[in-house]
């Protein structure tokens, strides 16, 4: 299973994501430069976190025009797996691959800390190795993670079970206190209708080794490997 890790000017989690895939998951990985229109035969695309184009104008607003995003859109349309993490999620929103938008965190400050998220659906290629209602300990680090969508979009997300992760307490309860950024419905991650594109604000690559305090994030990448193996 070959993973492609996109690099935009200003990406800063590309090495972390690459390390996790190649050294922890022991799967082939390749960097893909933002000006490339060729995804190099990758089986899955990871859009890493960071500050693509310095987050100037609006998070993800400039990155969506990169040549590589055209290729990613085609890849997604043909059913390829795309996972956007943090800034990667914001880029997928701006590109229209996922619905909704991000507002500044409710506290108007950057927040970096471990949070708990609850798995809302195991029926995606990213969550097949997880149980519904399972609680994962995965850190966040962002200034704009306050997910917003209009009422119609939200009800559509709920109806189609496109909400995949929600911020929760350690016991798995969805509460305001457990919500670190004011995100609507405590949304931490959503997928598209085709269920092959996932965006999430928490950083699973930061929770994939024992020394980092949690290995829960690894389960998401293992799910991807498992799904792709089945698909072949």
């Amino acid at each position: 299973m070959k993973f492609g890790v996109l690099i935009f000017p200003g990406s800063n989690c590309e090495h972390d994501t690459y390390h996790m895939v190649s050294k922890v998951l022991e799967q082939p990985a390749q960097f893909i430069w933002h000006q490339s229109e060729d995804l190099a035969g990758c089986d899955a695309i990871l859009v890493p976190g960071g500050f693509a184009y310095g987050d100037y104008l609006r998070t993800g607003a400039i990155a969506r025009f990169s040549p590589v995003m055209g290729a990613v859109k085609k890849f997604a349309a043909s059913g390829g797996l795309v996972l956007g993490i943090c800034n990667g999620f914001q880029i997928l929103l701006e590109s229209g691959l996922l619905p909704g938008a991000m507002l500044k965190n409710q506290g108007l400050k950057y927040v970096c800390r471990h949070v708990c998220i609850r798995v809302e659906s195991s029926a995606t290629p990213f969550t097949v190795s997880l149980r519904k209602d399972q609680v994962l300990n995965i850190p966040i680090g962002h200034m704009e993670g306050n997910y917003y969508a209009d009422a119609q979009t939200l009800s559509q997300l709920e109806r189609n079970q496109q909400i995949i992760f929600r911020y929760c307490t350690t016991q798995g309860e969805i509460t305001d206190v457990a919500n670190p950024n004011g995100s609507l419905f405590n949304i931490a991650g959503i997928c598209n209708e085709g269920r092959n594109v996932l965006g999430m604000m928490p950083h699973p690559e930061r929770a994939s080794e024992k020394i980092l305090g949690s290995e829960d994030g690894l389960l998401i990448f293992e799910s991807m490997v498992r799904s792709m193996a089945h698909a072949v």
């Binding site: 989690c13 976190g49 950057y110 930061r206 980092l212 305090g213």
Partner: protein, 773 residues
Amino acid sequence: MRSEAEAITMITEIQITPELLAQHNLTEEEYQRIASCLGRQPNLTELGIFSVMWSEHCSYKSSKVHLKRLPTTGPRILQGPGENAGIIDIGDDYAIAFKIESHNHPSFIEPYQGAATGVGGILRDIFTMGARPIAAMNSLRFGPLTQVHNRRIMEGVVAGIAGYGNCFGVPTIGGEVVFEESYSQNPLVNAFALGIFKKNQIFYGRASGVGNPVIYVGSKTGRDGIHGATMASAEFDEESESKRPNVQVGDPFMEKLLLEACLEAMKTGAIVGIQDMGAAGLTCSTCEMGSRAGTGMEVDLQFVPQRETGMSPYEIMLSESQERMLLVAEKGREEEILQVFRKWEIDAVVIGWVTDDAILRVKHFGQVVAEIPNRALTDEAPVYHRPLKPPEISPATSPVQLDLPGPEGGQGKLDFNEVLGRFLRSPTLASKEWVYQQYDHMVRTNTAQLPGADAAVVRIKGTDKALAMSLDGNGRYCKKDPRRGAQIAVAESCRNLICAGAQPIAATNCLNFGNPQKPEIMWQFSEAIDGIAEACLTFETPVTGGNVSFYNETLGEGIYPTPVIGMVGLIEPIRDGRGSWFVDDGDMIVLLGPLIDPDCAYSKAAKETLRSCMRWIPLEEDLYARWANLLPCPPIDLQQEKRVQTTCLEGIRSRAILSAHDCSEGGLAIALAEMSFSHFTASAKGATIEIPGAHALENVLFGEYQSRILVTVKDHDLPVLERIAHTHSVRITRIGKVGGNQLRIFVDGSLVVSQDVHDAEKGWRTSLGHYFD
């Protein structure tokens, strides 16, 4: 174009007036020296160049003679002071570069940008050597948070550090935040960065190879930051607000691109030397690179990318626009380098070449606008043996002055539960979560110890090593006794690393002092240097470099002398790493080092003072800071300290010690409370402590006796630790057991502290944030 150039060169004939020299912060004697170095009168551009290179900030003219007393050599040192950063060998072909630098003055004038560009500058110092930054820390000092202007400064500084470091992609993983009235008009912002590289990938700031092209890369040059270095070399007055345009503006996105492009360009093998343009910008980088290599440099400013039109040579040479670098390439291979920068969409332009005459020659549209021997700017810069004078009444022995509204508290019974609670909520001791949650402290996925531990720890991928680092200063000790205070700063820094399971290997320092032209200040400085030197020799941690920040005075009022020590240690193998929290119920709690020293002056003062503070200091104030400020500097015996540290590290390596915590600010009770609090997914754990013998409670609970470490061990491992302690003649006292939901402390059989650890933690964790609600 031609006419513009002519217009600029025409203004070079100037009249040297006392006002002009004052504007450039040069004395009449210094001016005479300039004229004799040149053998003629300087033009305005040259005067500007001299003024920044001879400023305190760039020349170290007041500190140089003292800094020579610091130990700078050791088997691991690959590069000591004098380059952009010091370099240490950590084995297996890996090396690390690290340094700390102050950005105090800009941060007072413009907190966000001042702090942000401080972070940017120190990061460039690291990656200009070829190392990728993997960790950042900050030592911050502000006035009390009860004053709105201190809150405004702190909020801006923290946001600036976050804004820059987070975007750049370096984890900000530790440091210190201290509150004290003395920093109200002069906050301290000291930024530390550490990077890693292979030993054979080190780059230096040297312009070698006559005829090699000089390449300017990075942001365009603007009028921002002109005379930043000169500003940092003078006291503040009421006019300081108007210096805001002297503060540079940072662009972390550009810095991130510059990092990636520089590291990629270094891989071509075509780079001969590289230096960042920090303080004094193009001036400093051109003459220092030439000076180090014994060469000269000729540059033509018409090729320098410019943000604004009509900039004079004076402005271009003195601009401190951020995110710029100067490279020297191998002749004929410049295209390989330019290509990398084009890929990253960064300006890169050949602006001159290396010459053999050891002269900095600056042209503008082909006409010479400055011509100065490098030596005049660097080696021949003035060096001052400024007069030293100890204060008339030694602050170490002067009686405690209670600056409190009423008489001393009298005989009323003190509630030590209440004292502990208020201490835990005092901003100086409270959790700094409000600060570090704004910093991305996990990017690069190496953070093995979350902020809040004794030391910050990052693992090194692909090895069985981790690095521990700590920043420590104690202005209030140094005010009383600068030499001993400095020793304690070094000792505490090492102790923090030891608790994390690391062997301290090298230090950097940031020396924040007042006006060096005052003999008392210079005496403080000299004493502090001796203290650092003695302690660093004892702990075998050479100083690899650092930074001196003088003139930390506003309206003639100096700050507490504040040397800040940045210590780096090595954890190897990684399994030797330890946290500073209770691990399991039933574990034994053991104190390494003395319980109390009842005879020292410190003990007597502590007892007197606490009662009055509890009575007179309003609830919203930093009770701890007010109390501690009234106390003398505690004694320290460096040899004893070393034995305690060795015992702890051997105890960790023998696997007897499960966790270890430095017992310093706030004493034993605070250290125990901190060990009991929740950490990550582990919940809070109480403990029962029994301290034998009758002691003054103020001292046994909160006394800041040095050379003490609290550790936890399993019952059956205690004999192992006892043996190690006896070998090193270290006192070891079993004081209690982990368990329950209460922190209960018995002294001589009476229960004096009984707190629910969850409640205590809540107060400690949320206190700082309440000041900003």
